[in-house]
Symmetry: D2
Subunit: 364 residues, 4 copies
């Protein structure tokens, strides 16, 4: 494999580069190679093949969790609704940040399984142990608690929807709060590769795994064609899980496609290197924005950057670069999201920075 | 593209050939080529890209249904639960054959969306118009019908779980029955390519489309890595469908993967040729079985064959060929399924026939 | 209390007497007296009052089950859907007889909670232990069981929809089968008072309770205005049950209405005496039918009788008596249901018998 | 009927009077009389009797809505979950105030039917037309709206959970907003009788009915044993509604109990007079509180009063009066709810006022 960003081919229309999200390209070329190489092998369906077994073993190894169950799912909403609906009894809900993906951008997938999202305020999408403790204790302290949705789990995103990452101490505390209150902790790691690549990240996979009941290692945003690996450490949540997957339409017939992809990504650390590339590109953008004195909506060290820019600056670069509108800040400025990924080319980043600089300068 | 079965590489372990199902290999090589070629293009996510648009247009063209909505989903259970739960109001159920996939092999996916499968007896998995008329009329004639699940649609499989295909007259009658009784008709075309390749098939895609409210053109069993194209002809079922897909976890982030695959398959008729190959391989097996006087559990002209074979014959070929156990017929014989597919090699078919002949002869 | 049927007032239109079902009158007068007496007491809502506590204690006493949880619900479908949806995990279904009330006459209430009814054939509505063993074992023996609905419980009706009652040995075996296969047994006792009054009944409440995970003592058909008492013996099903009740809209604000009614019925055995009255009236009818050589669709010793009668006989008595149409037997005869209840007057029974005799005689 | 509060019997323990809620007594005596009088009549089950028909006709008359469908349900959560789940398609949610009953005190009943509560901020529990317009328009303006729950209806409480009432202009505007945005308006009238009795109320039943798609006339809190009358004016929501009721376990077997009760209440305006009594008692309390300079958490003219009182005052009266804790305001004071009802006796109100005066005086 050549490093991301180094390929020479003119691979897309040079008039427009998209930084809108981290799933706009296909996959790392090594994955297509592996799919081609294995294409005519006959394997059992529905993930009961050797590639899935091998990839699951790699993940158990990387997590130092030999007893964990590992399932490979196609998409993020799918894995979230499965994890939540499997963990909760009918009268329970999932505590989440108000901006949590399950609460905002999954079309009510959790509610469609019968469960309420119990949304707590959070400026950057992170939850604290004390928020959880306070919420659960207030619930049971209320004389009418049987008339309210019982909190049964915490859903947390790593990194969050605003790119924020948890520290080791924060994760420990969140986990401790869940243990104390007797509820599950599930972590949506759609952007886990970038969280791990965060320079400030002071925890690793075994630590994360040991401090959750279940979590995902996102693939779709990390260079796979598609795929989310669900790691279930708590034995209470492991039982009969494949029935659930099938029932929700998530059991891929040619399940090996997931095993093969994760195998390629994890065998020699490609998954982590691609996360590092995405974050390096974001850091380069953030350094440039700092030099330009462009404020950020929210600080983070992962692959999403949320600068607050004048409309006229955005207008000036809009024939060449597409960013993701996020929220209006005032009459002349808005926050936008710049998402980098495993596929972001450094020359595109450089061009974006140059264009922004020119536009900002023209504005001043 | 070279014809299926003609590739020269020793692609799998020669000690075992599987005829157990039609999704044991990856995909037609042309699909991997297309994925590679488009890999670094940036496209919008969630199926809003040009490849999906183009593939949907091709399907509308093939179906002579310019107003139809076309959605691309990953899997069969997913598309079935979406189609059924979107079409039904909460108090309604789906009439299906007792062996219908939604009633037997989807882990209660339909019930998980709140709806009952209203199973009717059928020896080969087909439903008749008169069965539908009788069921719906009996429902409304019952004074207590408000205490029963109201039939709201018919789910039919083409081809059925036993490989049976509908005739033009049968489809017309089923559709007429649904119109008369005011319920929807949805056809699960997971094996549609093989139904179309049935020598006895006297209808085509435009006919099918014109005689259903919605149907699927299955991809997973037809040579794609994965994919089911849902064609919704009835405008009443089209509204807001993408919300439903997202809510059920079925909106693929890199949706273009589906558009690209269908594009490759439909552009020059590859989809249909691969179905013809699968059926040709099955016909060759059926001719050989007839010569051996091996009885079939159920007759059909599609890609699944259900011979009733002595246990000792199955034992004799078991070191070289794996067939799919289906049901025990008597103490010494069982019915098995032999599934051929787009990927079945003719030399494997010949070898299977030779092995069966030798074993049957030894038995007599 | 005066015996049912002995009241002197002309309480209804003498031109028509209904034997169509067992919930056509209000309630035993003692209940209205108790409601009046307690009417202006202030009690806490939602069943947390002393009347509910006392009635629950009586039930625990009658069942010799001091650890059982007892909840009072308003209706039968409500209690069934609660018991089933609370006991099952999302991927599980409830084994029941094909004619089981949950499978036929609850408008898909079970499916609306996400669960499939796994219907087994039964001529009289009873299930056997061996049916359960065979079904559960076949499920797990199937290599594709993760693609099928996992049996998680048995739903049985005592008496059944056709009035059949279980013997002690049958109940023991059904319970043993559930223990062996690791699934729950729930008994719908909507007509439990009549089952207990069956002359052939060789078990009692403590026995029933000891051989189920949960069961109901029906009130609506036993002389209450409304009410089903759910007795949950298995601690695993007791936890958080009031949340479930509230969530499904079953927590009666003035819950004491249920406690007061059950208190009246159970304090001195009225519940059981009323069941005996209903069955005595049915036995009188059955003896007369036997004398007339009228065949029955199905034999039983409870409060429902299913004679097969010529249409002309039914026509002849139809200006005076309304029976419940059940099923057509041949061109000239149909089975009807004659339901007696706590409120059936003996003079009405005598009049019905006389009318039937005259009509049958005229027919011969 | 003697006026509420005037009965002479010592009907309860004089050591404690409860003002905690409005459903602590049984029912108005006229209802028990009617139940007794009709007790032995035989009627068809499930609400298909003449009493339900007559009561429904009365309601249609009172609402000047001859085409409205009227259904009688047992409880408030039941009717809310039915109205919401019947009106919404699977991907839609119900806009409500954050304090709305469905969002806070129904144990997730709405989510259990698959739908999200879309909670908007509101200090007194009322929603404005502009809130609705803004929410719906923002939804469809968002490019990713298919990833979010689509607003499909508004749920509003009259009076609200804090006792607030809508004005004619506010109701018109809310209704106009719903028409403009194409969503339904459903009004939970659990406390409708008290809203109508509000001295400031400038609308009546026909007005309310004409400005909603459906609404309820609450009975449980208005002097019935139980019961909520659901009035469905919009024909689109009327179809097949009895199936829904049955499916959710809400079809009362002896449905006439509801028809009889509503008949008694509506025949000569008792329903409205009881609401006036409840409000008159609350007004008396509010005048007294004003004289004592006790601040209120929220102003209203219905039957609930929310004074902010020092803990020591509450402590001082606690041996004689139980109020409902609502929320802590500061270290020494809390807001409590004083609920009056159809059954509140004026001497109890006078005693409460006297006790409060003494305690407040002692405090100053």
């Amino acid at each position: 494999m050549t490093a991301p960003g180094s390929d020479k081919t003119e691979r897309r229309d040079m008039r427009m580069v998209y930084f809108t999200c981290d799933y706009q390209e296909g996959c790392h070329p090594a994955i297509l190679e592996a799919l081609e190489k294995t294409n005519f092998e006959q394997t059992p369906g529905y993930g009961e093949d050797k590639y899935c077994r091998e990839a699951a073993d790699m993940i158990r190894g990387l997590c130092a969790a030999p007893e964990a169950a590992v399932h490979f799912l196609v998409g993020g909403t799918q894995v979230n609704l499965l994890a939540v609906s499997c963990a909760l009894r009918p009268h329970q809900g999932a505590i989440c940040a108000a901006m949590g993906h399950i609460n905002t951008h999954e079309s009510g997938a959790i509610e469609a399984t019968g469960h309420k999202c119990l949304a707590l305020p959070s400026p950057d999408g992170k939850l604290t142990g004390d928020q959880v403790r306070a919420y659960v204790r207030a619930h049971f302290a209320d004389a009418t608690h049987e008339h309210m949705v019982q909190p049964g789990m915490v859903y947390a995103s790593v990194a969050t929807e605003l790119g924020a990452n948890y520290t080791r101490v924060e994760l420990e505390d969140l986990w401790a709060a869940c243990r104390e209150t007797g509820i599950y902790l599930y972590i949506d790691g759609a952007r886990l590769a970038c969280a791990l690549a965060d320079a400030a990240c002071d925890w690793d996979l075994p630590f994360l795994c040991a401090h959750t009941d279940a979590f995902t290692m996102g693939g779709t945003k990390a260079g796979l064609l598609f795929g989310e690996a669900l790691v279930i450490r708590n034995p209470a949540l492991q039982k009969d899980f494949r029935y659930f997957i099938k029932q929700r339409g998530g059991l891929l017939a040619k399940g090996r496609l997931l095993g093969i992809q994760y195998g390629v990504m994890l065998r020699d650390g490609l998954y982590f290197r691609l996360g590092q590339h995405a974050v390096a590109m974001a850091e380069k953008i953030r350094r440039a924005l700092a030099e330009m004195n462009v404020p950020l909506l929210s600080e983070n060290g992962t692959n999403q950057t949320f600068p607050i820019l004048p409309d006229r600056v955005l207008e000036a670069i809009s024939d060449r670069f597409t960013l993701c509108p996020w929220e209006r800040v005032d009459e002349t400025r808005q926050a936008v999201r710049i998402a980098t990924s495993w596929a972001t080319r450094e020359e595109d980043v450089d061009a974006l920075i140059a264009a922004l600089k020119a536009a900002v300068q023209a504005e001043n």
